[in-house]
């Protein structure tokens, strides 16, 4: 099949315009970020000059390739990283061929031909074929299960492989490799990174920063092997292992090769265009054929090829300018800055930071805080910076590098950043306030401070506004903090940072602000709080009231009067509402243990109240379903009589502690897992938490209690107890992270209670432990619980104190008559009416 597209040229007679402009035909090969940006600029400069046709080898629209890592780790969906949706192409009259690869360029006929035989004519051609990942020439490199990390198809293949929860080996400890490793770990795989050089990310980081990074990566449970040379990938039909030169065999269900990229220039080369490493272009991004441009990772300018987004976007701007007749526009590479997009790991590097005899270094190390900063100076100018841990001043240093500002006068305090550059320390906002208007804030999209402050001056007041109108912080998001500071320093008190994510429509404050102010302003009731924080509604809504009730309860144990009307029905009546308005009842069975007496009582209750369904739950309990609301107190009375209390199966609080039989019965058990589970449950029951908390204790690493997908899990081993946390097996599936190892049961209980208390104090309402941990950082939690013993003890004491007030069986209270109005109608008019 063959089809020639001769794009319509409006003729004078059929046009309503007096002087119709004849559109030039622009064909673009490739639909990545660089050509996407070039077209955006082109439509800005000359909306009506070009009739554009795009061939995209990927079957989709243009998306933000930088954000593939958050898609892999599950933080974002594909829809969230789309740059141009289908509507954009329609709006600009662009013909987009999705999933069509161009196979040939005919420069004489000025046409391109696609894999399905489509032929398109061009006046101007833009080649943006990007790069291809390098595949190591080693045996087994073509086995199934060996992937690269380049596009959405790779991410989808990795996500599929990750479902196996098996072993992943990432070859290459550079930016992409590490992001892939963390993403796969987040998806529950056991991950090993092997890296040829002695330290990670050696192109962007010096050795000390590389070591700090390695430590942080390892703390996430990822194994790192440096100075490792891959010999072969073994397997029969699909990958089974990676073999290193030194003979080490690493079992692998998935191998990701992230060893680098090379420009994809074959198509241009076949067409007779000059190609060196990449497609050779002049300063105006023109190839050896003046009607053919190249942009992005496939292009070689000034003898260099480029892989980071900032220079590629610069190239895109030049292409657009050249196409619209501005022939003076030229691309010149400038210093680039790098950040790693891994939540909780802060590192930044910019410029040239190699050692040299003509160079001076200023180094700051604070190992306890995990901070490392190194500045490289040459001729009294800053030429490079590497920062780890504290990267707040990165933009300021990067600006000094790009502008080649003489730093001799501030040299003494230079490393402390702009706050000290004037001598006296300034407020925290000073770093960003001190930046000049041309300072680049968003490296991904090349947005400088002036553009943002101008947008703010024009009426933008929120982060979302800024993202929508300037694109700053809209790609990788690592400059979000800077943009927020700009909003703050420009708008002053008018900027309400919580506008970014208020608790609900009743307030502009976010969860964390509200919690802080509860303590700071001594707020002790919901009405007081709403008054003091100027709630916009008279009495809140179903979203904020339960959250406020929890925050007050957690902040003022023993003092705050629980507000029943601000609790969801399940917590109000201590049972779980079902779709037909009946309830389910789950009594506590400590550690999942029960007895003939308890089971007999349950059987009797089921018979007596005609309960239609009885089911065993995933948390090792018995659930009676379909109980009428009026019957609840009577059902509870009978269960209480047999010694059973509420199982809190309805609570944003401690739910169940699942156990295996441990040393009591199991021939593999290493500790008394059942006993520890019962102790934990008896100690922790009744506690309210931001969201439900489920525990499990397994007696050996065979893990029959499935502790590694719980909020908090314990795996018993010969030498003691491995404490895990931040697992999930619901909407999300996620293996736990290791919190630490302790030798005794008492220590295990202390660590778990302290962890729960930290979560109670920091977690946002309805935020499960794994989401809280992801937000605040696993290391921060480990430090506070495992390393800082005093802090742990204090947290433990606070947990113990709050438990004093909550360990009262809510069923027994209601059997005794509390909240009787909940369980009886106010009036029964059925008889009266019938009698009439």
């Amino acid at each position: 099949m063959s089809e020639v597209i001769d794009l319509p040229r409006p003729a004078a007679a059929s046009s309503v315009r007096l002087f119709p402009k004849i559109k030039q035909r622009l064909v673009v090969i490739g639909n990545g970020m660089a050509p996407g940006r070039a077209l955006e600029k082109l439509f800005e400069l000359a909306p009506d000059d070009f009739e554009v046709t795009i061939f995209n080898a990927e079957p989709r629209v243009n998306y933000d390739r930088i954000m593939l890592s958050p898609v892999l780790s599950g933080e974002k969906s594909f829809e969230q990283i789309v740059i141009h949706g289908d509507g954009w192409y329609v709006k600009h009259g662009v013909t987009l061929y999705k999933g069509e690869k161009v196979t040939a360029i005919d420069r004489t006929a000025k046409t391109v031909t696609s894999s399905t035989g489509v032929i398109a004519s061009y006046d101007k051609l833009l080649i943006a074929t990007g790069s291809v990942p390098i595949i190591l020439p080693i045996p087994g490199a073509k086995l199934a299960g060996v992937l690269t990390y380049r596009d959405l198809d790779d991410v989808e293949a990795m996500l599929l492989a990750a479902k196996s929860r098996g072993n992943a080996v990432v070859i290459g400890g550079g930016l992409l490799g590490l992001e892939a490793a963390v993403g796969l770990k987040d998806q529950g795989m056991d991950v090993t990174v092997i890296h040829l050089a002695p330290t990670l990310m050696e192109r962007q980081l010096d050795a000390p920063a590389g070591h700090l990074l390695q430590r942080a990566i390892e703390a996430r449970g990822i194994r790192v092997i440096t100075k490792a040379n891959t010999k072969e990938i073994s397997g029969t039909t699909r990958v089974e292992a990676v073999v290193l030169e030194d003979g080490t065999v690493l079992p692998a269900d998935l191998v990701v090769m992230a060893v680098g990229i090379r420009p994809n220039a074959q198509l241009a080369k076949d067409a007779g265009i000059t190609v060196n490493r990449g497609i050779v272009v002049d300063g105006g991004m023109r190839t050896s054929d003046p009607d053919v441009f190249a942009v992005g990772e496939c292009a070689e300018a000034h003898g260099q090829v480029f892989g980071l987004v900032a220079p590629l976007y610069d190239m895109a701007g030049v292409v657009a300018a050249q196409l619209t007749g501005n022939e003076g526009s030229a691309f010149s590479p400038s210093a680039v800055a790098t950040k790693l997009k891994v939540t909780g790991i802060n590192l930044f590097s910019a410029g040239d930071f190699a050692d040299g005899p003509d160079r001076d270094e200023i180094v700051l190390r604070d190992p306890a805080r995990g901070v490392y900063k190194r500045l490289v100076l040459k001729d009294d100018k800053l030429i490079g910076a590497v920062m780890y841990g504290d990267v707040a001043d990165g933009a300021w240093f990067f600006d000094l590098v790009k502008k080649a500002t003489p730093v001799i006068e501030m040299r003494e305090t230079l490393i402390f950043g702009p706050s000290y550059a004037g001598g006296a320390p300034l407020d925290p906002m000073a770093a960003v306030a001190a930046l000049p208007d041309e300072a680049e804030i968003c490296g991904c999209n090349g947005v400088c401070k002036g553009t943002i402050t101008k947008a703010i001056g024009g009426g933008m007041t929120s982060l979302d506004d800024i993202r929508a109108h300037t694109k700053a912080s809209a790609s990788c998001g690592s400059c979000t903090g800077l943009v927020e500071q700009l909003l703050k320093s420009t708008l002053g008190d008018e900027y309400n940072p919580a506008a970014v994510q208020p608790m609900c429509g009743c307030t502009d404050y976010g969860h964390d602000d509200v919690r802080r102010m509860i303590a700071a302003k001594d707020l002790k009731t919901i009405p007081d709080l709403m008054q003091a924080l100027q709630w916009k509604t008279s009495c809140g809504c179903a979203k904020c009231r339960p959250a406020l009730n929890y925050y007050l309860l957690a902040t003022w144990p023993g003092e705050y009067q629980d507000d029943n009307q601000s609790r969801f029905i399940n917590e109000r009546v201590h049972a779980n509402i079902q779709k037909d308005g009946t309830y389910s009842v789950v009594p506590r069975m400590w550690g999942g243990m029960t007895s003939a007496k308890e089971l007999r009582a349950i059987a009797d209750v089921v018979d007596k109240f005609n309960i239609p369904a009885v089911k065993v739950t995933g948390g090792q309990r018995v659930d009676m379903l379909g109980v009428k609301k009026e019957d609840l107190p009577a059902v509870w009375a009978d269960l209480n009589a047999a010694g059973m209390v509420s199982g809190a199966a309805y609570a944003k609080g401690l739910r169940t502690v699942k156990t295996c039989v441990g040393t009591d019965w199991c021939r593999f058990g290493t500790q008394d897992s059942t006993g520890l589970g019962i102790k934990l449950e008896k100690f922790m029951w009744g506690s309210w938490t931001p969201a439900k908390v489920k525990l499990a204790v397994s007696g050996c690493p065979r893990n029959c209690a499935e502790a590694t997908c719980k909020d908090i899990g314990v795996i018993c081993v010969d030498s003691g107890y491995d404490i895990h946390f931040a697992g999930a097996a619901g909407l999300d599936i996620k293996g736990t992270e290791v919190l630490g190892h302790v030798a005794t049961e008492d220590e295990a209980i202390e660590v778990i209670a302290a962890l729960t208390q930290l979560y109670r104090e920091q977690g946002r309402y309805l935020e499960r432990i794994y989401k809280w941990a992801k937000r605040v950082g696993l290391d921060t939690i480990r430090r506070q619980i495992m390393d800082d013993v005093e802090r742990r003890k204090a947290l433990y004491e606070r947990f113990v104190f709050s438990q004093k007030f909550v360990q009262i069986d809510p069923w027994a209270e209601r059997v005794a008559g509390k909240d009787a109005h909940e369980f009886a109608p106010i009036a029964d008019l059925t008889f009266k009416d019938a009698a009439e």
């Binding site: 509604t537 008279s538 009495c539 809140g540 809504c541 179903a542 009231r545 339960p546 029943n564 009307q565 601000s566 969801f568 029905i569 009546v573 509402i577 779709k579 037909d580 308005g581 109005h821 109608p825 106010i826 009036a827 029964d828 008019l829 059925t830 009266k832 009416d833 019938a834």
Partner: protein, 124 residues
């Protein structure tokens, strides 16, 4: 007895049924009235006012009396639809209507319109 309560009694005889004291319902709470054709939910707002409507969410029949009351609205416990207590209309993007019944509070007593419990109610 005052004139007002005397007139209440006569009204009650004409078409209002005394279903109880408003203090039998917690502030921002609800109770149900059983009627021959199903339950009627009676809500109390933060002010001393009460509203009555069918105890069935138009979405999936959730018992509205079990929801959280805020302003003059209730959020259904099953899927968080928000229903206006004044009009019975679903709020926001959701579309649906709950049948409401006249209810007045006089001297702390709640008087429900007799139409709410007539056997023809379902057909009305």
């Amino acid at each position: 007895m005052s004139d007002i309560s005397a007139s209440d009694i006569s009204m009650s005889e004409r078409g209002w049924i005394d279903i109880g004291s408003i203090d039998d319902i917690p502030i921002l709470g609800a109770r149900v009235v059983k009627s021959p054709s199903g339950c009627i939910a009676v809500f109390r707002t933060a002010a001393t006012e009460a509203f009555a409507m069918d105890d069935r969410c138009p979405h999936k029949g959730g018992p509205l009396s079990q929801g959280i009351v805020h302003d003059r609205k209730v959020t259904c416990p099953l899927h968080n639809w928000v229903i206006s207590l004044e009009t019975g209309a679903a709020q926001g993007a959701d579309q649906g209507q709950v049948k409401t019944y006249p209810l007045r509070v006089e001297n702390g007593r709640m008087l429900l319109d007799r139409s709410a419990v007539s056997v023809q109610r379902a057909a009305a």
